[in-house]
Structure formats: C-alpha cells, structure tokens
Assembly symmetry: C2
C-alpha cells in the first residue's frame, strides 16, 4: 500500500483517498497547494507521518507552481504556501516538522536560482517519503523484540501503512512481528468517530492476511478482562519530551484500561513525532473537530436529536506513566523518557 | 414518554418503535405474540424493565388470543407463549422474572375459567407497568440523595423512560436530582454499536430540557481527566447476589476509567433486576449479537472490509468492587452487596 507519491512528470501528489475506504480504493491527484491543504483538513490523508510527507511534498508542489525567477517574490510565495499548509491541523507535529525541514532546504539554497531551490524541495519531499519507510521498518524491527510468540495485539485508530508513506508505525511493528510468528491476531478498535480502525486498520490487515478482529472501542476492556489481549500498540501524533503522548481520541482510555488489566501499552512513533520543545503533554495543542463527525455516521440522518451538544475532541493525551515503552527507529525507549527519548534523538 | 401501554379495546400492546428514534417518533401496535417477541429481538423495545413489562403484557396478549374454554389446551398454549417470549434475549433477567410472575398468576388461578385467568393476566400486565413507574420514582428519590448540587453526570446507553415503562432507572435518578437543582449537565456516551446514548438518551434529555452533551464512548476517560464528570450512573440488565452487574457493553470500561479517576460509579436498578439465584456475575448469561450491528452503521455500506471478524458482545459484567452504590426502589445499597441487596429484598 503506497499511501502517497510524487508524480515527476506533472509535479503533483498522488494519494489514496482514505475517506472512501474500504469500499472504494482510489488514488487522487493533487495539483494545487489548496488541494493538498484540503486533503489534510478533510482527512483524505491522515496519520502524523503521512501528513508530514504530504506537507513536505505540498511545499515542493507550491514551489513548482511559482512562475518567474524573482527570488524575493518566490520566498514571499513560499511563506504563504507554508502558512497555508501549517494551518491545516494543529496536533500532529510531523506537519510542522516537515515544513520546517523544507524551510531549512530553502534557507540552505537561498542564493541559488528559483529553479534550483524548487528542485531541491522536490528532492527533499521525495527523500522524506523514502526515509519514512526505512524509519518504519527500523521501528518494526525494534518493536518486534517486545512481543512474545502468538501475541494478540490490540491497536487503536490506524497507525499503519496508510498513516505513513508505507509500512506503518504501530502496524509496522505488527507486520515485523507477524513475519516472525509473533502475532496471532490483531484486535482493531473501530475508533469513533471516524472509524479508522474499521475502515483502515481492518482493511490493511485483510490486505496483508493478518487475522483481525474488529471491536467497538468500549469493548476493549472486556476483551482484556477475558484474557484475550497480550499487549496494545498505538501510534502517536505528538510526544512531549517527557513521553506524554497525544494520539487519536480513545488512546488514553485504552491506556487506562490496559494498566488496570496489567497489559503492556506501547507507543510506536518516529523521532520526528517527538516534540522536544514541549516539557509535558499539557503543552500539546489538541484539535477539536465539528459535531457532525459524531452526529452523522456513514452519511444519512443524524443519529442524535437537534439540541444536544456534542463533544468531539479529536486527540487525547496519554501520560507517560501509562506507557510501557516508546518504540522509535533508534530503539525502544523506557521510562524515564526525558532521558531515553533525548538519548534516542542523539543516537 | 410512555414507552408502552395496553390497549383494552383490542387487547394489544402499543409501544414506541425505538429503532427509528430520534428522527421518527411513532407508536406501533403489536397484536400477536410473535410480533411481541420480534419487537424484543430486534430491539424496538429494549431496557431490562421495559422488556419485563412487555413480556408480561405479551403473556397476557397470548392469553387473549386463545380460542375456547379448554383449560388443558389453554395451559399448553400458554406454555408455548411463555417459551417463545423467554427465547428472545438471554441477559436481562426482568424478562424471565416477568414471565415467572405471570406463571404464578396462572398457577394461582388455575381452577378458574380461561376467561377469568386471561383477565387476571391482563390485569397483572397492566399492574406491572404502573408498578414499574412507581418503582422508578422511588429509585429516583433515593438516588438523588447521592448527588451534590450542579453535578455533571455521565451515563451509558439508555436507562431512561424508554428503558422502562416510564421515568427510567439511571435517568430517573437524573430526573429526580435535576428537579432538585443537582444536575448541571448529563454526558451521554453514544454507546456503540446501537447508539442508544445518541438516539435515546440524548432524545430524552432534549425532550426534558436537561442540558446534555453527547460524547463517543472512548472520550469518557478524557472528560474525567479534565474534571468534567462528577459521577456516573448507569442501569443494569442483571445483577448477581454479590452486586456484580451485567449491563450494556462499555459499562465495564466506564467503571474502570471512573475508578482510575476516583469518580463515583452508581448502578440504578429495581429489585426485579437482581438475580438472587446467582452468586456472582460469572454466572450471568451474556448475549452476543450479529456482526452487522458493528459493520453497518446507520444503514448504507459496511464500514469495514469483508474478511474481518467482528466481536459484538452486547453486554459486559462490571464487578461489584467497581460499583460505589446500587440504587434500588428500597434504598441505596453499599458494599458488601451480598448483605445490602438481601436486606433490600426483604425491606
């Protein structure tokens, strides 16, 4: 599953439209910065690493759309491109990390021609995609060491191929461990309100031939109480320097019930998801989304009456104390995370 | 909101069709035992106390449909009626309790005419409906004493008017407490897969003018961590003698996260929901339902791919140790429940 790629011939991004899976598998072409920004906002692409690569390619796409050779005008144009892309979603830090990385490319090449800078941005966008896949494979190898033979693994939302350029973070660990005979079955939380567990994770697992059971989020605790779950692995949208982790709403709930049942709870994320500038998770900006995501399920009429308020916080914050380990491409980090995450960054 | 009633003129049951709320508010008439049984199976009526009253009236309806005066044939007919109604759903004990109560009416009147026995069954069915409302109001008064002024109350599924003849169990407590200025807001878990929180509880709260916020089940823990929830109140489908409680799937998860956040977790249920014959919750039969309840949300195409297993356990079991109090019509019971529930029965 290639989530997205750069089309050299026409300087455009091609990506799977994740809003119509699993019923329709279709690639769409994004040809303008506005289309790229919208694809992030309406979640045709989602998942922190995938958003990062999309944003990096979006910056490159913006550069290719500039007409002329005036560097000052080019940089002003690129400021607007970066600002638009940065405005799409607040929580996943990979978005800002990717844009910053492209800004550094521009800074480094600031005395070159517009054409040369543009070429550098396109190359960097493509490089970040390839890097992302390599990072995920490294993460998978490290993470697989944590699992015992025939484990039943619960996951939440989708931290798979579709959340990255390919291979996945949490599901990358599952893929690597499955290849070693360590995964008997994946339990996928359906992950309300957007149902990424049902629509994306289950789709990936069926595609991959890994046995998968779909469950409502509220059933995770009961499956644990029945001894059906050996560990949980989730992805992350932003991790503070102390290990506190923002991820899809419901992650915190899962971590709490896992702790109650003494089940290991792992986070898998690349170093680019760690925001070392934040001391704790309290500083992570958390996105709230519209009521209709909850009210309207799978199209059709609202499932609730008019006049009821809806609370739709898209991410939550799991404190480091509930996390058994954070799996990165540099290795497995354990508490105290301030030290282990800093060491991973410098490894 | 009158969930159901007996129509004397035509000897039929009239009930709100709860599968089409909140968009369509419609009463349906049930004229055969098979229709009554189906209405329970497909959840046009649900909620343990409402199922109980429906079954009692269903037995009465079955009696009115018998033609002739042969008592032996009548009792054989009634055995089949009771067996059909008892086969509809396994977990809510009120179903069996109601049928047993009607069997005792038959037993007591066994030497009377078919017509007289039938009259007694109809009278008992109607009496149980009136009793249920009185019980809920008593429960509400007892439960309200547990709440402080301006409480934010979280509830799961629907244990309201629609789960009973009227007034509700958990929402009966909310109604009584709200009238005393003790309820600032109700947080309704949407309650996957059937969304009774969105479709029924939110509907009741809007109807009643009680401020209500709808949240995905996986968001409850985060609302608690933010200090937004003062207590949880839920209903029950069957309570063992030791206080272990079977209720809608997700109740156990909610109880676990409430305990983690040191938030009181209350169960409100009539004595008829307590199954004194069961020592612990492990003996409670738990219903599993079809995969399509999870796969198909609000009609339309499945939200998950073919080839994925679905785990759809309709109820879960919350151990007594996670329950702060059980509110009955006889008063508030505290641990150890073996003693307090037995005392309530005899009060």
């Amino acid at each position: 599953l290639d989530t997205l790629r750069w089309l050299d011939g026409i300087n455009a991004i091609e990506m799977i439209d994740q809003t119509i899976l699993p019923n329709t598998f279709k690639y769409i072409k994004l040809k303008t910065v506005e289309q790229v920004a919208r694809s992030i906002e309406i979640m045709q692409v989602r998942g922190a690493p995938a958003i990062g690569v999309t944003a990096a390619m979006g910056v490159a796409l913006g550069a290719t759309r500039f007409r002329g050779a005036d560097r000052d005008k080019f940089f002003a144009h690129m400021d607007a491109v970066c600002a638009r892309l940065a405005s799409t979603r607040p929580t996943a830090v990979n978005l800002f990390w990717a844009i910053e990385r492209q800004k550094r490319v521009m800074q480094k090449n600031r005395n070159k021609s517009v054409e040369q800078i543009t070429r550098a941005l396109v190359a960097e966008g493509k490089r970040m995609r390839v890097e992302d896949i390599a990072i995920n494979k490294a993460m998978g190898a490290h993470g697989a060491t944590l699992l015992k033979k025939n484990s039943n693994v619960m996951t939440h939302c989708n931290a798979g191929s579709l959340a990255t350029a390919a291979y996945g973070t949490a599901l990358g660990v599952v893929r690597a461990a499955h290849a070693q005979g360590k995964v008997a079955r994946v339990y996928a939380d359906e992950t309300r309100p957007r149902l990424q567990g049902a629509m994306l994770t289950a789709f990936e697992m069926v595609h991959e031939g890994i046995p998968c059971t779909l469950n409502c989020d509220n059933t995770a605790a009961t499956l644990m109480a029945q001894g059906k779950i050996d560990c949980c692995i989730v992805g992350a949208d932003r991790i503070a320097a102390n290990g506190d982790t923002a991820n899809k709403i419901g992650t915190y709930s899962l971590a709490v019930v896992a702790r109650y049942h003494k089940i290991p709870f792992y986070v898998a994320a690349p170093i680019s998801t760690i925001d070392y500038s934040l001391k704790s998770g309290r500083e992570i900006p958390i996105e709230h989304r519209g009521a209709d995501e909850v009210r309207i399920v799978n199209g059709g009429k609202p499932v609730c009456p008019d006049g009821v308020d809806v609370y739709n916080q898209a991410f939550d914050m799991t404190p480091a104390r509930l996390i058994s380990a954070i799996i990165t491409e540099k290795g497995v980090c354990r508490a105290p995370y301030v030290k282990s995450l800093a060491a991973a960054r410098n490894a």
